[in-house]
């Protein structure tokens, strides 16, 4: 019951945020906030694959692309029919129902690709796996480029603008909640054991194959949802947004934040989304912003190679003002 109340409170809070946030903050910062939320989803879900399970995947942009294009095709081609079929419902509800199913279709299609990519991960390790996942991402991109029904080389335009602050925040919260509780469950211990030592994990009776593929499927599912949010936010998808450079960006986020640290990923995703934009305010040397960005990346790696947070989670409860006094022994 208490839990239900908390959920209801969060739901109302997000709805309020959806209503008032666009008025309170500048549209440019709102844009950056939405993009950083999408990046948080991507970074946290990739952290499950790379940080917690120790499989080096470089193809996250591919999952995002599949999810984005599938969901966009769903709303673009089926949206009209579904709207008229569900005519008896209020239009707001119909719109959000369609978007919810689009999110699922995007997530599911990416998860299926994750399953397909997860299978080679059984045979390949380390750098070989990295390059195969990268290759899968590029193959996906070229295939999309050659399908004319979803825009091909022109890009897929005319996607309805369903993404709003509510969906973005809720999905970010959902991703963080699912990955956090997954990692802290007994499944999470299994993921960690695969990362730490695959042979020892197998010897302890852990089905490493199953956990590796699961990590890929779950990570891909959330990346696909992020792609859906991205497409329905920009209303335009182009394969140039999903090159391996995008995968590198996400990897950089989780490494800067610290592999295996969820709070690290979140903070790094926000930081690295805002950093290149904030550097625009440098005035005369603003042309140097991307150079400064890459130098900053190298310097972070040289001075703090384990990432900002290492693999630890900072004790956020310390800052929670309403905690119960710890029982004195």
């Amino acid at each position: 019951m208490k839990r239900l109340l908390v959920f209801a409170a969060i739901f109302v809070l997000f709805l309020l945020a959806n209503r008032f946030l666009p008025q309170w903050i500048d549209s440019y910062y709102l844009h950056l906030t939405i993009l950083s939320c999408i990046n948080i989803i991507l970074a946290v879900s990739l952290n499950l694959i790379n940080g917690f399970t120790g499989q080096f995947s470089l193809g996250h942009a591919g999952f995002m692309a599949v999810g984005g294009y599938t969901s966009a095709a769903f709303t673009y081609y089926l949206g009209q029919k579904l709207t008229s079929a569900l005519g008896f419902l209020p239009i707001m509800l119909t719109k959000n129902l369609i978007f919810l199913s689009a999110l699922f279709s995007g997530g599911l299609s990416a998860a299926i690709l994750g399953l397909l990519v997860g299978i080679p991960s059984l045979r390949l390790r380390g750098d070989y796996l990295a390059i195969v996942t990268l290759g899968m991402g590029e193959i996906v991109r070229v295939l999309i480029l050659n399908i004319d029904a979803i825009g091909g080389a022109r890009g897929f335009s005319g996607i309805p603008a369903y993404t709003n602050v509510f969906w973005v925040i809720s999905l970010t919260a959902l991703t963080i909640a699912v990955v956090t509780s997954l990692v802290n469950s007994s499944h999470g211990r299994a993921f960690l054991s695969v990362r730490e030592d695959e042979i020892a994990a197998e010897a302890m009776g852990i089905n490493t194959t199953y956990y590796k593929v699961t990590a890929f499927v779950i990570g891909a599912f959330f990346a696909g949802m992020a792609g859906c949010l991205f497409g329905h936010y920009l209303q335009l998808l182009h394969t140039n947004s999903f090159t391996f450079v995008k995968s590198f960006e996400i990897i950089i986020m989780i490494i800067v934040g610290g592999l295996g640290s969820i709070s690290g990923s979140i903070i790094a995703a926000i930081l690295l989304t805002f950093l290149p934009e904030l550097l625009r305010y440098l005035g005369p040397i603003k042309d140097w912003r991307m150079v400064i960005y890459s130098l900053a990346l190298i310097l972070i790696m040289l001075t703090r190679p384990q990432g900002l947070f290492g693999s630890r989670e900072p004790n956020w409860r310390r800052f929670w003002p309403f905690r119960k006094p710890s029982p004195s022994i």
Partner: protein, 300 residues
């Protein structure tokens, strides 16, 4: 048949260039187990070094064969220096850190070279002077073989033979192989591993620089992002042949170059970028360590 021959000639000359770049990847991987993502950008720098050198020395105005070789040599030496500087400044401090950290640093260096290049050289493409006048060696209605692919092939072959000589028959080459086999043991035997690693970077970067010049001969439009995709594909070539294996890199490069031009010629040029990766996935699924890579036993 004639068309096939035409594609084959183009494919082999592309393959030679991929092989040159892939050699740098594979050597660095051999000694450091590092995917040097900045390597493709060194290849870009090679083309730009050649561009500026040939303009400053007025070679561009009256191209001679000697001028071409001077440009090639200059680009190779300059790239070797850049490679050594990158290694010393960005990778050496991380020698004892997890490999992933070094990998991200390599991506950072790559971004730095691309963005720095856009700032310094300008983002608009430059046109590389035609240092070698194109002449047709053989001409029939369906088959034209010009001297450019032949020059590319000849230069890359000479460089590869030279590389093989250095790696197999010199003292430093022996040291390189020792470091690749086991770095710690090599350093215990009195091999100065830092110098050997620097030398490896210099050698690989020089080959990439030469690749940059050779590409610019046939595709004279050069820009700071030109190294991104060829660099990645050359890495794919290195993995295809078995990373860390020098003949493997050449084999992988050739396979990649030929299959890419065949796909572009017979199927569709839009699938050109996918074939490299499709080939990679298929080969790695059948042989997880690449064509010539040896299976490394797992240490328990």
């Amino acid at each position: 048949m004639q068309e096939f021959l035409q594609q084959l000639v183009n494919g082999i000359s592309w393959g030679a260039i991929y092989a040159l770049i892939a050699l740098g990847y594979t050597m660095v991987y051999g000694v450091l187990q590092l995917i040097n993502f900045a390597h493709g950008d060194v290849f870009m720098l090679g083309a730009f070094f050649g561009y500026f050198f040939s303009r400053w020395t007025k070679i561009a105005q009256e191209p001679t064969l000697f001028g071409f070789f001077a440009t090639l040599l200059f680009a190779m030496v300059a790239c070797a220096l850049v490679g050594m500087i990158i290694e010393r400044a960005a990778y050496k401090p991380l020698r004892l850190r997890p490999r992933l950290t070094v990998l991200i640093t390599a991506i950072g260096v790559s971004l730095l070279l691309e963005n720095g290049g856009q700032l310094i050289f300008g983002a608009d493409p430059k046109f590389f002077p035609s240092l070698v006048a194109e002449t047709k060696l053989y001409e029939s209605p369906t088959l034209v073989i010009s001297n450019l692919p032949m020059i590319i092939l000849a230069v890359s072959l000479v460089l590869m033979i030279l590389l093989r000589f250095i790696v197999m028959n010199t003292k430093i080459g022996k040291a390189m192989r020792a470091v690749a086999f086991n770095r710690e043991a090599a350093s215990l035997m009195g091999v100065n591993t830092n110098n050997v690693i620097s030398f490896t970077f210099a050698l690989g970067s020089a080959l990439a620089g030469a690749g940059g010049i050779l590409v610019a001969l046939t595709y004279p439009k050069i820009d700071p992002l030109m190294g991104l995709l060829p660099g990645l594909k050359a890495f794919v070539a290195a993995v295809l042949g078995g990373i860390g294996n020098i003949p493997g890199a050449v084999l992988g490069g050739m396979i990649l170059g030929v299959s890419e031009t065949m796909v572009a010629g017979y199927i569709s040029s839009t699938f050109r970028d996918a074939i490299a990766f499709a080939l990679l996935v298929v080969i790695l699924l059948v042989k997880p360590t690449g064509l010539l890579g040896s299976r490394v036993g797992e240490k328990v």
